[in-house]
């Protein structure tokens, strides 16, 4: 990189868009919606980042990956982890949702206006493999905190769905 080039906000966003989620690598941190703010102040890049699920073991790897990317841009990273309620699965971008579907994960349903309940989750969500809606909820919980397990009665394929939170 030319020394004269000053790092801009869009350089930072573009760099962060290259960081895959450590557990679902088809989707980037930007797609996931966990980057809440970027502020460039000369050579210092401040990033506000919020966890998806609070017990997610990918949090530290995500922070390290962001630090490495910013260092590659020739700037100094400062990551601020926000523990507030600033993320829901509604923050996953439309592109991110398509990438999830293409990789065999049903994207999360939009958050309902009221309380999330089991009846809504037992609805026939679309199977990411065959498109059928004859699917059922097998387990609210899955191999990672962000996933539920569903089963498609048409193509007989179990699949994972990103939980709505």
């Amino acid at each position: 990189m030319a020394l004269s080039h000053k790092v801009t906000d869009s350089d930072v966003w573009a760099a962060l868009a290259e960081i895959p989620d450590p557990e679902i690598p088809v989707i980037s941190l930007v797609d996931l919606g966990v980057i809440k703010d970027v502020a460039v102040d000369d050579g210092l890049v401040r990033i506000d980042f919020t966890p998806t699920f609070m017990g997610c073991p990918a949090l530290e790897p995500m922070q390290r990956a962001m630090e490495a990317k910013i260092a590659e841009l020739g700037a100094t990273p400062a990551i601020n982890v926000r523990l507030d309620d600033s993320w829901s699965t509604d923050d996953i971008t439309p592109e991110g949702r398509e990438k999830l579907r293409a990789a065999g994960f049903a994207p999360p349903a939009p958050r309902p206006a009221g309380k999330l309940d089991l009846v809504q989750l037992q609805r026939g969500f679309r199977c990411p493999y065959c498109g059928s809606t004859s699917t059922k909820l097998e387990n609210l919980f899955g191999p990672t905190p962000c996933r539920s397990i569903r089963y498609c009665e048409d193509c007989r394929q179990p699949f994972e769905q990103f939980k709505t939170i």
């Binding site: 966890p51 699920f53 609070m54 017990g55 997610c56 523990l83 507030d84 309620d85 600033s86 993320w87 829901s88 309380k115 999330l116 309940d117 089991l118 989750l121 097998e138 387990n139 609210l140 919980f141 899955g142 191999p143 990672t144 905190p145 397990i149 939980k163 939170i165």
Partner: protein, 223 residues
């Protein structure tokens, strides 16, 4: 110690110790779905504990790990309900449901707090806890659907009821009673709650196991 820190540690300790107890089902739950469910719930609870410890640590000038692992068993502020080692299914479900019901009542008050840090963490936790509640309620439906299940659940609830009351402060207990009685369709006895700060012998045993690695590498284990 401020009232705020005391509150943060009480809830963090509840979540850490219950997370640990839930994780005891990993690999040995009655069937695979429950193995996955209890392991995942454990992971969430420990994640909540970490966030709460971090808020407390900022105030106390320490770290989340030090709060989680370097205190003596008698310094923990958890409710005795979460300390009990209950490797029996009906009691596990009863404890799970009683705790999640009490926790929902507590979280509702914290979400409405004027303290924006506490309100924010509580709201974030609640998004995940909604899944724990759905899971617990599904099991209550299942147990209530047969005479045998109902009998086992009733017995477990009667045993754990004084402990469940002890999770909440005085003013929130009537709401817990109302919810539990409405769901089970029966009255529960007037009993003395088992308060926070009194510990079951089982806590020391759990603590010994939980802090073993930390104590064996005081300079810090490197992975």
């Amino acid at each position: 110690m401020s009232k705020r820190t005391d509150l943060l540690l009480s809830i963090a300790d509840d979540e850490l110790i219950l997370g640990w107890r839930n994780s005891e089902w990993t690999g040995i739950a009655p069937f695979l779905e429950e193995d996955v469910a209890f392991s995942s719930i454990a992971q969430n609870e420990i994640g909540h504990a970490r966030a709460l410890y971090e808020l407390a640590a900022a105030e106390l000038g320490t770290t989340a790990d030090e709060l989680a692992f370097d205190r003596k068993p008698e310094e923990y502020r958890c409710a005795p309900l979460v300390e009990l080692r209950r490797l029996e299914w009906a009691r596990t479900i009863a404890r799970h449901w009683l705790y999640e019901t009490a926790d929902e009542i507590r979280l509702a008050t914290l979400k409405a707090s004027d303290d924006s840090e506490i309100a924010g963490v509580a709201a974030k936790m609640d998004r995940e806890e909604a899944y724990h509640r759905m899971h617990a309620e599904m099991w209550i439906d299942r147990l209530l659907s047969s005479d045998d299940g109902r009998e086992r659940l009733d017995e477990a609830i009667d045993e754990l009821w004084p402990y469940a009351l002890g999770v909440l402060d005085d003013e929130l207990r009537p709401e817990l009673r109302a919810r539990v009685e409405a769901r089970l369709g029966r009255e529960l006895p007037e009993v003395e709650p088992v308060p926070r700060g009194v510990h079951e012998a089982e806590l020391a045993e759990l603590w010994g196991e939980m802090t073993l690695v930390r104590r064996s590498a005081p300079a810090g284990a490197q992975w």
